[in-house]
Each structure stands twice: as structure tokens, then as C-alpha cells.
């Protein structure tokens, strides 16, 4: 309670006047016009965004977000239809991608035997090679190789030795092992 009589009424009067004045001033001011005059870049440059961001609990924020719901709302077809695939493809360095591909490994996965038997490739190969003579030669050679192995095995057995560590042939003539696949740069490698 105020010590002077009538002070309360005076106070109320002043408050109502101030309230009225503020309302009148606010009505008179065009906020949008003022905002339009503000140099937002200058304002933002003074703001320490890092400091603000560092205070934000991003993990907590993400935990609250229902990503599935967002994805459900996304019209992928609509997005894809807007994407200029040709433009993206033209930016891709195909040569670089091919360099990273281990072709040897891919070929190893291909069952060439079944490919030859199941496709026209077999007919093409059959037509492209000579007939009985080469077939007979192949068989004679194959039998020779088989007998070579058989004798080598028995010699090793008699001498009680293993040829597992022996070189199969001169290094230059043996098949070169596939080169290791270069690892992807950190920024594109999957996490």
C-alpha cells in the first residue's frame, strides 16, 4: 500500500495512459516497413550462430523427429521427375568409377561354363573353332596334362615330399593376381 492517499488512483491513471499511448504508437508504426529497412545481413553477422548451435541438443532434436513420417510424406516420384538425370550423369566421372571396379573379381563370379551351355555363345564358339582335329588335339593335350600330374603326384609320394609350395611356373608367365581395389575417399565412403 502507498503511503500517500490517492497515490493508487494516480498510479492506475498513469498506467492506463501509458498503455493507451503505446497502443496508439504501435498502431501508427508500420513494423513491416521498419523490418524492410533493417540490414538483416549486418544483424546476422553480429550473431554468434556457432554459439547458438552449440547450445542446441541436435541428438535430442533428431530423436524427437519421426523420420519415417517425413519420408512417408515425401512424394519421391515428384522429386525424381524434377531431377535432371542427364545433367547428373554428365557430371559423373565414369572412367574413375570403372578404375575402381575390380573386373577380375566380377569375372570370377561369372559361371562361364553355364553361360556357354545356356546361351548362343556356345554355338558361336563352336562355329568359330575347327572341328574334330582340334577337339582330338585338346583331348590328347588334356590327357597329357593329367598324366603329368599323376606321375608328379606319385614321385612326390615316393619321395615323401610336398610340392604345394613349389612355383607352378616362371613368375612372368603365371596369371597376375587381381590388383587390390582402391578404397573410397572418406567423404564418399559409407559410414
Amino acid at each position: 500500500m502507498s503511503p500517500l492517499p490517492g497515490a493508487n488512483r494516480m498510479e492506475q491513471l498513469v498506467e492506463s495512459i501509458a498503455e493507451r499511448v503505446v497502443n496508439l504508437v504501435l498502431d501508427a508504426i508500420d513494423i513491416n516497413a521498419i523490418v524492410a529497412q533493417v540490414d538483416m545481413d549486418a544483424v546476422l553477422s553480429k550473431v554468434d550462430v556457432d554459439s547458438i548451435v552449440s547450445k542446441v541438443d541436435v541428438d535430442g532434436l533428431i530423436d524427437r523427429v519421426d523420420v519415417q513420417k517425413i519420408i512417408d510424406r515425401v512424394d519421391v516420384d515428384e522429386i525424381v521427375s524434377r531431377v535432371d538425370v542427364d545433367e547428373i550423369v554428365s557430371r559423373v566421372d565414369v572412367e574413375k568409377i570403372i578404375e575402381r571396379v575390380d573386373v577380375e573379381k566380377i569375372i570370377e563370379r561369372v559361371d562361364i561354363d553355364s553361360l556357354v551351355q545356356q546361351t548362343e555363345l556356345g554355338t558361336i564358339i563352336a562355329h568359330s573353332t575347327s572341328g574334330i582335329a582340334s577337339e582330338a588335339l585338346d583331348v590328347v593335350r588334356a590327357q597329357g596334362v593329367g598324366l603329368d600330374d599323376f606321375i608328379a603326384r606319385w614321385v612326390n609320394r615316393i619321395l615323401r615330399r610336398s610340392s604345394a609350395d613349389w612355383p607352378a611356373g616362371p613368375e612372368k608367365l603365371l596369371e597376375v593376381p587381381p590388383a587390390p581395389v582402391p578404397s573410397l575417399p572418406a567423404e564418399v565412403s559409407p559410414s
Partner: protein, 171 residues
């Protein structure tokens, strides 16, 4: 007919074994003797045609021996120097290369041909290395610094064989 087995696939560059080398050598002896005999018969026929005289080397054995030795030297040395393989070796799908895998040089071809008879000495002991050594060196291989390797594409041979079979419906 039995196909080349999967174990035979991809043998290019591997050291060739004793049986293949022996069969190739036998084929070479047959081929060189066949060519020599035909050439001799042709020469005798030509001499007979021109001079009317009969040429018979059986009565001149030393001359025949020298002719055969020279011919065998030319037969092997020339073919090895040319492409690392003789007729017999080409048939069996093997070839001679330097120990490091490089093509054989004419010098190596000559050394190999000259030293080949040495491997026959002492009941063919020089050939034992083909069975016993890890790089299947015979004595003449060691002296000429050469090795014999498979040169035929066993994989292509298998594909050729498969291609001739009835197509199998996909599983």
C-alpha cells in the same frame, strides 16, 4: 569323349610334365625322321632324274650319320630359336622359354640343342630332373637356362568342348 577336366584349366605358363614332354619329343623324332626321309627320297629322285645315277646312303653310313646329325640340329635349333617350340611341342601345347619366362634366345636354342644329347648319356639320367626338380629342369634345360611350360589354352579347350554339348536348360 572325355573333356579336358577342370583341373587342367588355366595351365598356361605352368611347368610342363614328363609325359607331355616325352610324347612331344617322340612326335618330333617322328616328324624330323619323316621329313629327312622324304627330303632324301626327293633328292635321290632329282639326282636320278638329272644324272641317271642311283643315290643310296645306306652304303655311306658315315655320310648318312653326319647328314642326320646336321638335320636334327637344324630341326630343333631353328624351331626353338624361331618360336620356342618344335612341331611336336606345338602339337602337345608346350614351349621352351628362358627360366624367367622370357622368350628363348637363338643362343639358348643352340646351347639347348647341342646339350640335348648329354641328357641321354648314362641311361637318360639327365632327364630325371624333369621328375625330381621343382622347376622340372632336364640337364640340357639347366645348361641352356631354359624351362618347358604349357602354352595351350586349356580353358578355351574346355569352352570349346562345352560348346559342342547339347544346351542345358537353365535351372
Amino acid at each position: 569323349m572325355k573333356p579336358p577336366t577342370p583341373a587342367d584349366i588355366g595351365r598356361q605358363g605352368n611347368y610342363a610334365g614328363a609325359v607331355t614332354r616325352l610324347v612331344a619329343f617322340a612326335a618330333d623324332i617322328g616328324a624330323s625322321w619323316g621329313i629327312f626321309t622324304l627330303a632324301l627320297a626327293g633328292l635321290g629322285f632329282a639326282i636320278n632324274l638329272v644324272t641317271g645315277k642311283q643315290v643310296n646312303l645306306t652304303s655311306r653310313q658315315i655320310l648318312a650319320l653326319i647328314a642326320i646329325i646336321i638335320w636334327e640340329f637344324v630341326y630343333f635349333a631353328y624351331q626353338w630359336a624361331l618360336g620356342g617350340k618344335t612341331i611336336g611341342m606345338a602339337l602337345l601345347g608346350i614351349r621352351v622359354v628362358a627360366t624367367d619366362g622370357d622368350p628363348i634366345t637363338p643362343k639358348q636354342a643352340v646351347i639347348r640343342t647341342v646339350t640335348l644329347p648329354l641328357s641321354f648319356l648314362l641311361f637318360g639320367l639327365g632327364f630325371l630332373g624333369i621328375l625330381l626338380n621343382k622347376d622340372r629342369h632336364a640337364l640340357h634345360d639347366r645348361l641352356a637356362k631354359t624351362v618347358v611350360v604349357y602354352s595351350w589354352d586349356a580353358r578355351a579347350a574346355r569352352l570349346r568342348w562345352l560348346a559342342k554339348q547339347e544346351p542345358v536348360p537353365p535351372a
